[in-house]
Amino acid sequence: MMKTNNKKLCATLLCVLVLVVFITSATYAWLSIEGSKDVDASFGDFKVAVDVKNDDTNGVLVEGLYKVNGLSQGDYEAIEDSISAEGELKTYYEDLAKYPYIDTLKVSVKVTSEIAGYMRVKILDEWQVTRDYINFDKVSQEAIFRATDEDSFMFNLGAGWVYDPVTKYCYYSKLINKGEETFSFIDGGSFYTPKVSSYFIETCEVTLALEVEVVQANRFEALWGIEEIPQPKEVTGNA
């Protein structure tokens, strides 16, 4: 009798155990749930486009009009990301009323940026004056230079740009944020006024090249060797 009861007890316990395993397993399956999302993370870079134009529709003022799209990486060790674009601008003394044509030169830089950065541009310009002596069948040529970098800078820089005479670069003084933005870089200018007399006519020819560099914002010191981005001088009024 005792033996039979023990067997029944064991069987019951086994049934209960199986039932517990069953219920626990089944219940646990709906007590939690998991979901996931994959993310690919890669490094951002810059794209730079330079646009040179002249808004004077009456004269042919720009030869070798260029528009360059260049790729610039978020560089870390070396300046591999500068682009260089060259074009030739010629100012012709053709129309006294329109003189000088450099006034209407406009250069803009479009930056498409995936990370924050800073930008600087080096202006590589050559000025050559050709004097044509009308009655003597004689032509002379002369290269001209700025007297000083700072005082005689010949291009009007757009808002936010600062020319640094030490590094000889024009710096955009503000942070360039992610996204696409076009910056007015040159808006006219003046440097040399070709002369005209009854003996000769001068033509001033300008060859302009721009070198644009964009660097990720936290690396300007390491790559450009400057401690801070040059800022526009504060204009103080007279007392």
Binding site: W30, L31, S32, G35, D38, V39, D40, S42, G44, G74
Partner: protein, 269 residues
């Protein structure tokens, strides 16, 4: 005869239990809906939304990583650009259950992400769309020596105000003289600090009772990530490297632990 019947019944029940148990376990382990925003299986359901820069083929793509200098930027924030240079992921988890749930979030360990470093910060419904601001707050003694340096975060309100909260104590790294020779060691220290912080943050999100939520409630947090050049084992093509970052969230019925008398365990649950 009865004995045989009992044995047969027991055998059948055992097989059924094993079959159901195995199936349940299998379902639990593999019913992970990869690349889906919402999930609903049986009686637990919720929603995990991860937002980044873009979404291509149901995958989040963040293409705005930038390398940072781990001392100049991360420890000293020399240019005050640590937040600006961060690539961000915003993560929200919503429970659609009527009962209380916890959320266990798993992110990749930094050891698996050589070349990437990230931190997890709290977010709320009110802050999730605000820009985040990071700063290093320092305390100096009378001689000007920095005795404490803490990385802090806050959100830039519409009026420009920011209330900062402590994130990671970086005092030891702040006062280290970092040279090219020992930069590797200091980098490991930084990654250890950050890894410990992230682990504690995610663990607290799961175990802290204040983070239990019920129907229609959401949990928000943000991941800020940067490139970490010095932890790269191979610097070839370092600018074109891509990191795979998997965000996994597991919603667990909070009552489960209570009824079983256990406490939530981030590593084992």
């Amino acid at each position: 005869m009865k004995r045989k019947i009992k044995i047969c019944v027991l055998m059948i029940m055992l097989f059924m239990a094993l079959a159901v148990g195995s199936y349940s376990t299998y379902a639990f382990l593999t019913d992970t809906k990869v690349i889906t925003h919402s999930f609903e299986i049986d009686k637990i359901n919720g929603e995990v939304i991860v937002t980044g820069n873009a979404e291509v083929d149901s995958k989040i793509v963040n293409g705005d990583l930038a390398y940072i200098h781990h001392v100049d930027d991360f420890v000293k924030n020399k240019y005050e650009l640590l937040d600006t240079m961060a690539s961000q992921l915003k993560i929200s988890i919503t429970s659609n259950n009527s009962y209380a749930c916890r959320v266990k979030v798993k992110l990749p360990n930094l050891d698996e992400l050589k070349g990437l470093i990230y931190i997890v910060i709290d977010d709320t419904k009110d802050t999730k769309d605000l820009p985040v601001s990071l700063q290093i707050a320092t305390t100096a003694d009378a001689d000007g020596n920095v005795t404490k340096a803490v990385l802090q975060y806050g959100y830039v309100e519409s009026d420009g105000t920011v209330t900062y909260n402590d994130l990671i104590d970086v005092t030891t790294l702040y006062n280290l003289e970092i040279t090219d020779a020992n930069i590797g060691n200091s980098n490991n220290t930084l990654r250890e600090l950050v890894q410990n912080y992230n682990y504690n943050k995610l663990s607290t999100l799961y175990t802290d009772d204040s983070n239990i939520f019920t129907s229609s409630e959401s949990m928000y947090f943000r991941v800020l990530m940067w490139g970490d050049y010095y932890s790269l084992t191979d610097t070839t093509d370092y600018l074109t490297k891509t990191f795979s970052f998997k965000v996994t969230a597991k919603v667990i019925q909070a009552i489960d632990q209570t009824t079983q008398g256990g406490t939530p365990n981030y590593d084992e649950d």
